[in-house]
Every structure is written in C-alpha cells, then in structure tokens.
Amino acid sequence: MDSIDQFIVKLERELDMVEPGTLNPEVNYRNIPNWSSMYALIIVALCETEYDVAVTGEDLRKCNTISDLYNIVASRKG
C-alpha cells in the first residue's frame, strides 16, 4: 500500500482541476475548489484501479478528511 503522501500525489493527478501541492492529509475533500459529485466518482475510480478497493457513497459520507479516506483504503487493502 502506498504511503499517504503517494496517495495524495495520485489523487492530485486524477483531480486535474486541483493545483498540485494543495492537498494534505487534513484537507476536507468536500472543500476542494469546484467540488462536485463527479470528483467523488473520480476518487472511487482511483481506489478501484490503483488499489482494487471498493469505496462506497456511504464510506464517503463518513469521511471528512483525505486522511480518513486513506485510512479506509489502507485498511481494506490490508
């Protein structure tokens, strides 16, 4: 499993409307500029293709920060 910094690099690469270097573990992902449900799908697709981990809408509702999201993926990746 990637470190959280590697996870953030991949996240910023996929969310190409986001300036590289602006995300950190404590950022609330819903506060990303221009956040929309499309961004949520991009995050879920990244978790599937990069880590083979399913993240649901319910998971996202329970998460606030990027760190919360990383912890879900890391725990399921094992």
């Binding site: 409307m17 221009n34 929309s36 449900s37 499309m38 961004y39 949520a40 799908l41 991009i42 879920v44 697709a45 599937e48 293709t49 083979d52 399913a54 649901t56 809408g57 996202l60």
Partner: protein, 349 residues
C-alpha cells in the same frame, strides 16, 4: 444457471438511427463552465442527439429496420420474428413491436413482442431472439432496441440530464444451424431504487403530486415522473458485478482477453467503463466508445457502438464480447463472432 450457449442464430447486420437535434453539454447552463468541463471529461459525453416532442423509439427503430432490410436485400415476407427492447415504448399499450410489425409491412404470421429492459436489454434481447431462432421455427428475425431517455429526465437535474441521448437500432438475425452465441445473464432487484422513474406505473399512477418538482440539492431538481439515478450506487454495482460476469463467461468459453478482438460495453460513462476495462485488462484499442457523440443511449448503446465500429465487424471472424449493466439492476455479457456484418452508416432523421 445463468451461463448458456445458443446454437442456431447468426447476426447478419446492425443499423442505427438518431434524431437530428444535437445538444452539447458545453451549453448546459445549470452548472458552471468549470463543472461542465469536469462533467465532459469524467463521463466522456460531449453531445447527445435528442428527439423532438412526439418522436418515438418506434420511429427511430422503424428507420433503422428499413435501412437494414434494404441493405441486406431481405425479402420482408421471410421475417417471422420481431422483438422490441425498450423502457420508453410508444404507448403504455399495445406493445410497440406489434405496431412495428404492421408499419414495416411484415406478415401477420410474424411473432412480435416487447421486452421491458434498458441498459442490459440488448444482451437479454439477443439471448431471447437467438434461443427462439435455435428452435428452427424461424427463418429471419429483427431485434429492435432503442430508447427515448430524454423524455424521462429533468433539465434541472445535472445527475441525469447531461448523460442521456436517444437512439433506435435494428439487428438482423438469420437461422444458421452451426452458429453459436454464449451468454451469462444476471439480475438483482434489491438495487431497484438505484435507477428508477417512481411514478407512472400501476403502483404509483400519475397524479398532480407526481409532477411537483422538488430540489434535492443544488443542481438536482426533478419530480416523481422523472428519472432518478444514484450515480455512486450504479458505479459501485457496475464495477463490482460486470468484471466477474465477463470473466465467468470467458472461462465458460475457454477464452481469455487475448481471444477477443472487440470488447463493447454498454455506454454508461467513460470513467466507469474505463474502470471496468482496466480491471479486466482489456486493451484500450479493442474497446470502442460512442459516448462522446451520442451519450448513454440505454438499450441502443451496444448496437450503436458496434455500428460505429463498422470497420471491425464488417470483416470476417471478428471475435466480439458484449457487456451490459444497469437499471434493474440487470446485467449480462455474451461472446460471439462477427462475420461480414452489413452495417449501414448511422442515420440522422
């Protein structure tokens, strides 16, 4: 047992028709220009062909069928089976297939009926029509699949309106004693609420209340006669269920991804379909799309994409894998061989 092989029916050609009116998601004023760009990049949908008021799925399928019959030089008197697949039929009743039997000038000995399925409908329809053909009781058949999805979406709902386009298709099938198509079909009604038009059936007939709009969140306003779609649930379902369904089909056929020349998925959205493709390790150049120009055309999306890939299917011995998934929830896949199909260019009517 959802895995089965049908021997006796061969596809001879496919045609598609779309309405002339084109709508661009770049002009979708409900959302900001920046959000439009993310939407287009994520869904892969830039434009959609939209029916005018009163234009029906039957009209589009009729045009596609006439074109295909002419292209194949079929004698209409030899067509004895017609199946229409749609979730937007011309009337509540009678079945659109029966109206089309008369409109196409087919014999009264024609067997005609509708199948009420959407995203998965083409693969299901192919399984039903080929199974009937395999009995040897029919010579030539038409599978007409299409939808006017634009009639069910609310322009003020950004979660549905920019996704759907309208199209009608026709697939010509002939009895061929040695030809095989293999299917893997599945269903899960526990996911019925993921894609639903709640009112308008017998359970919830249309009342004045059905047409009262409600804002669910900014950019998502609709009423109960509109399509409601939970994009995240559909994404999770499709990415979870489609890959193992396809893998089981390939195992049953004793094939691998390398044995497939063309992998055509239901055109739902680009990000979701690409996630499925990557999980199955299919190369991008074997996986065509029609999303950019036509959007999600429901039951028509697979045959429309096949017509768009006509250079491939007009060759001999092109090995084709189809995978469909969506409303129901319902999903399935099939493996077949395309041999010199007749594919007239997509008609705009």
């Amino acid at each position: 047992m959802s895995l089965f092989r049908v021997t006796g029916a061969e596809i001879k050609g496919i045609s598609a028709a779309v309405p002339a009116t084109v709508v661009s998601n770049r002009d979708y004023e409900i959302i900001s220009p920046a959000e439009r760009e993310v939407l287009i990049k994520t869904t892969g949908i830039e434009k959609r062909h939209i029916a005018h008021h009163g234009e029906t799925t039957g009209d589009l399928c009729y045009a596609a069928a006439e074109k295909l019959i002419t292209s194949l030089r079929w004698d209409k008197s030899e067509i004895d089976l017609l199946i229409f697949v749609s979730q937007s039929p011309d009337h509540f009743l009678p079945a659109t297939s029966i109206i089309l039997q008369d409109r196409l000038g087919l014999s009264k000995t024609t067997v005609a009926f509708d199948i009420l399925l959407g995203c998965s409908g083409y693969v299901y329809g192919l399984s039903v029509i080929s199974s009937m053909m395999a009995t040897g009781g029919f010579r030539k058949a038409l599978l007409l699949a299409g939808d006017i999805s634009s009639a069910g979406v609310n322009v003020k709902d950004k979660s549905t309106y920019p996704l759907f386009g309208d199209a009608g298709t026709a697939t010509a099938i002939e009895y061929n004693r040695g030809y095989q198509i293999t299917f893997n079909l599945q269903s899960d009604g526990s996911g019925k609420d993921a894609i639903i038009i709640p009112h308008g059936g017998v359970k919830y007939p249309i009342t004045a209340e059905s047409l009262v709009e409600k804002e669910y969140e900014p950019g998502i306003t609709r009423h109960m006669r509109n399509l409601a779609l939970n994009g995240m649930d559909v994404f999770n379902f499709s990415v979870r269920e489609a890959p193992p369904n396809v893998k089981a089909l390939l195992d049953y056929c004793e094939k691998s991804a390398e044995d497939v020349d063309l992998f055509v998925m239901h055109q739902a959205n680009f990000l979701m379909n690409e996630t499925i493709r990557k999980k199955l390790k299919f190369p991008a150049d074997k996986t065509p799309y029609s999303l950019r120009e036509f959007g999600n055309t429901s039951s028509a999306s697979i045959p429309l994409t096949l017509v768009n890939s006509m250079q491939e299917v007009q060759k001999s011995s092109t090995r084709v894998l189809l995978s469909a998934f969506g409303v129901g929830l319902s999903w399935g896949s099939c493996y077949l061989e395309a041999n010199n199909w007749s594919c007239p260019p997509i008609q705009t009517i």
